[in-house]
């Protein structure tokens, strides 16, 4: 009964947030609308981070890599080949998936903190390549003047910030819906099982490395698609959009959101990015400090966050956390995924 009430309340809040998101561009100014569109893109990257960190048990600091691959692929295609949004999205997702596929051998056999270090290195490497490969990426100047996107063949180009924001909103909503559906299939179930106890999963005959590779590539595709939304939102991209600070903030947002929850990841990532953008204006130079304090507070105030992070960040070979009586909110997060 209590679960039912919580579910209702949560559904109500989600509906309110969605309505708020739809009407937002008519309430705030154009500049803020553009920032909101970019925040949506980052929140979608956050979902891919949650998929890896919370669901598959591979904490990552490197989702900026497929995000960047998707953004640059979209920018190049948008400038030279097609202004159709669907085309750009597919190309961006493919680019993100390809980059993720290339890095699969580096990440799927590592565990815990090692994955963090490897993914961090991959993210940094991609930023370096973006800065050096001038002929394609424009180097540190980035790529500007990317034509406005038209969502579909025959539709007009999205000429203002409101329209571009709504486009991003529709794409994010669709992809998040797809992720939620995916998590309810056997793929999602097996990923959660592997997060609980990988050795046990292997003992049942599952090809764990294969599952993790699939999750990694799927998360890469999502981050790549998010990259194309960044291009739509800003019509300009540079390596600065994909730095380590962005990865760290996204992981922070996902931890705040409860790592295994897709909705939590969206909210957490959006919140953290919004706080950063806001603090950037209010307290120039001090944003990292405030976010650091926020992170520490989260870890102490939200036991869910700590517990899950502890389980996730266990050293290689260590047995999975098997609490005799898991905390009640743990259960809530799990129940959430079952719906």
């Amino acid at each position: 009964m209590r679960g039912e009430v919580i579910r209702r309340v949560r559904g109500g809040i989600a509906a309110l947030v969605l309505v708020g998101l739809v009407v937002a561009p008519w309430v705030v100014d154009d500049y803020t609308t553009a920032i909101l569109a970019r925040t949506l893109a980052l929140a979608l990257v956050g979902v891919s981070v949650a998929l890896l960190t919370g669901v598959a048990g591979m904490p990552t600091l490197g989702q900026t890599a497929p995000y960047a691959a998707g953004a640059y692929a979209c920018a190049v295609v948008g400038s030279r080949v097609s202004d159709v949004g669907v085309v750009q999205l597919v190309v961006a997702a493919a680019a993100g998936a390809l980059l993720a596929a290339l890095t699969v051998p580096l990440v799927v056999h590592a565990r815990g903190v090692i994955v963090l270090m490897i993914t961090l290195a991959i993210g940094e490497l991609v930023v370096i390549v973006l800065g050096r490969w001038r002929s394609v990426t424009g180097g540190t100047d980035g790529l500007a003047g990317i034509p406005a996107v038209r969502p579909f063949w025959g539709l007009p180009a999205l000429a203002n910030d409101q329209a571009r924001y709504l486009y991003a909103l529709v794409v994010v909503a669709t992809l998040v819906g797809a992720v939620l559906v995916l998590l309810r299939t056997r793929a999602g179930l097996v990923l959660r099982a592997g997060r609980d106890d990988e050795t046990r999963l292997r003992a049942s005959g599952h090809r764990v490395a294969l599952h993790l590779s699939g999750a990694h590539i799927a998360a890469g595709a999502i981050a790549g698609a998010a990259g194309s939304l960044l291009v739509v939102a800003q019509q300009y991209i540079s390596p600065a959009d994909f730095g380590f600070d962005t990865s760290a903030l996204l992981l922070l947002g996902v931890v705040i959101g409860g790592t295994a929850s897709v909705g939590g990841a969206l909210v957490g990532a959006a919140l953290v990015i919004a706080v950063r953008d806001w603090l950037f204006g209010v307290l120039p130079g001090h944003a990292p400090l405030v976010l650091g304090a926020l992170f520490v507070a989260t870890v102490y105030l939200l036991p869910t966050g700590v517990n899950r992070a502890r389980g996730r960040l266990r050293p290689p070979g260590a047995p999975a956390l098997q609490p005799e009586q898991p905390a009640a909110h743990d259960q809530a997060t799990v129940a959430e995924l079952h719906r």
């Binding site: 056997r186 179930l189 106890d197 999975a320």
Partner: protein
Amino acid sequence: MTGLLEAQGISVRYGSLAALDGVDLRIHDGQRHALIGPNGAGKTTLLNVLGGSTRPQRGTVRFDGRDVGRLGPAARARRGINRIHQRPAVFPTLTATENVVVAALPRVIPSRRWRPGGRRHAAQRLAGPLLDQMGLTAVAAVPAGHLAHGQRRQLEIAMALAGRPRLLLLDEPAAGLSAIEVGRLVELLQALPRAVAVLLVEHRLDLVYALSDTVTVLRDGQRLAAGTPDEIRTSPLVRQAYADGVA
């Protein structure tokens, strides 16, 4: 007659300690084989070797006529070697039903082969009756981490059976179970289809005699004796070994 499983000359050393020292073991199709011996005799180590989680320094393991020595636990499970552990291993955040579904997936035969969700559906249909058999229906929707020790043990057995095993490796399955649960376990093992062979590690000799047709006795990493339960019961060698130290 060749065995379903044939292990020959298995040796496992941990530093200077020989946990297993040239052990041979043969299990026929459908055989109910018990492995007994004092604590530290190497029983769990031998199950680890057969299940693929420990590589022996020497020796070969053949299953169904093929050398499986290089295969890991997952590949062996897909061939039909299923294992339950001395400490019950379940997925704590998944419900009991989901635990069984996950265990069933690798070897399930999809009911609607080309439709999405066919495998999951088939696994799901398998889970209900298995949980029922283990007396877990009432807790089917409870996360496994919340189950009592005995229930987790039974859940793990349901999971092992869900994998359509041809050989079940059971490491002290009665440990920590209540009398009622032990009774249910014995019934269940007695009711297993004849096609399923069982290798049972068990301390309680009453269970060994009730459930097995062949007994192998290990001691200090070596095979001390092998025979029918009656032969073992009356063997002076075994009595001596047990008198020297058994839990």
